[in-house]
Symmetry: D2
Subunit: 139 residues, 4 copies
DNA sequence: TTTT
DNA sequence: TTTT
């Protein structure tokens, strides 16, 4: 039976998205996202930051490349996926990623403006609330 | 600023929960959870299963120990947490876990009955929809 | 700026879906869904049931018509939408509905078999985890 | 069996929270929240705003009274609840509300500063990521 | 490596 | 009635 595998994050990009193109031309964007939590410990405020590896495919990767940047606040919805790989020493390791299915930019209007984009009315419908229509992801 | 780090899963336990008690008596339960996704690939049905490491603390661990079992269908809400550890060879590795904040059992009523529990009206409010009231988790 | 409007429900259908076709042929399915919550009140178990009006459009409505039935357990993801209408006395009233964006059937395999469907391997990828690809909904 | 009834919203307050105290002293805060969605219709950008009635109880209401204000951007998690009431003409009507279980403020640091609060370091752990510990709500 |  |  089918199950549910859903992740909801609101956080800041730790770096600009890194874009790769697979053989066949499929675009893949990836970047780290920080979600911080503040709580009281013995009367002192403590901040705990969790880092997530975000991966975006195809059309979503293109939009990410265009609008997401280090420091931006973003809402991301996706699913968990753990895959194995071999490091340089040939040791098998595992990594868990959040494969994004859609994202929405949060924050001030100026936050949506990028270097390469016009400063007036640059934001399109696709920038906020972009939904991946490619559910035929290769995994 | 604070962010959001939320995971929502519906899946089946791959094993009975494993219960440990830390020095101080704090209970920790852990078990693998499978979420399956079925999709069409070239006209054939393909099932993809993702495995998640679930961790429950304190009161939630106690309830898990009492009611959760291999094969049960459960809804879990929690957050992502990646931690490092050294394997037996002393190699540093990372693992990502879902730290559960509450869970709800899904499925038939008979699914809530366990070996050790009475067969009549055994299910209490705590079994379905248990919420962790210990937000002072040690991480 | 764009926001987030998301609803996640797991519950049982109170009735079979009711299917209508708008002028233009667009299919709309609607049905009530019950989500129950059990809690302790003064030592006694009390069950509280909340009823939700679910609406599905286009392809999702077709799948609902085919597979969803009174009593089935289903996971639904969607968004809130409040609209006004006039009752028979001409009094303006409001109703809040959950416009589903995708759903997944939960429960036993036999629960996925319907009257009109073959009893062997009838379940297709579309039955569980159907995602609405029509984001151009008329509202 | 227990179900899931969960709402996740990110939006702006349409008004300051309105605080009432029930007999017994229980605090209740309520306010409208707007979630906007932008999409393309025939090449033109169209914005659709949905309004939600948010209700917060007890400790959560107190925190809301202290920190939430008209215009603020906030993440809210809660559940749906439909209740009936009689309007001034004695006509029975229904209203659906989102009973918040926790909220997190989003946006710039200056957005967390209120009239009555000191401008330096005013924000405490409670302002972002407040979780309602009173699950014994009166409904 | 983000943000407050 | 919010925000962009």
């Amino acid at each position: 039976m089918s199950g549910i595998n859903k992740v909801i994050l609101v956080g800041h990009l730790g770096k600009d998205p890194e874009i790769r193109h697979l053989e066949g031309g499929v675009a893949v964007a990836s970047f780290p996202l920080a979600t911080s939590e503040t709580f009281n410990k013995d009367g002192r405020k403590v901040e705990q930051t969790e880092w997530h590896n975000i991966v975006m495919w195809r059309g979503l990767a293109d939009v990410a490349a265009k609008y997401l940047q280090k420091g931006k606040l973003v809402y991301i919805e996706g699913k968990l996926r753990t895959r194995s790989f071999e490091d340089k020493e040939g040791i098998k390791k595992y990594t868990t990623e959040v494969v994004a299915e859609n994202f929405t930019m949060l924050g001030r209007k100026t936050d949506f403006e990028t270097e390469g984009a016009p400063r007036n009315g640059a934001r399109t419908a696709e920038t906020d609330g972009y939904r991946n229509d490619a559910d035929d992801l290769p995994f």
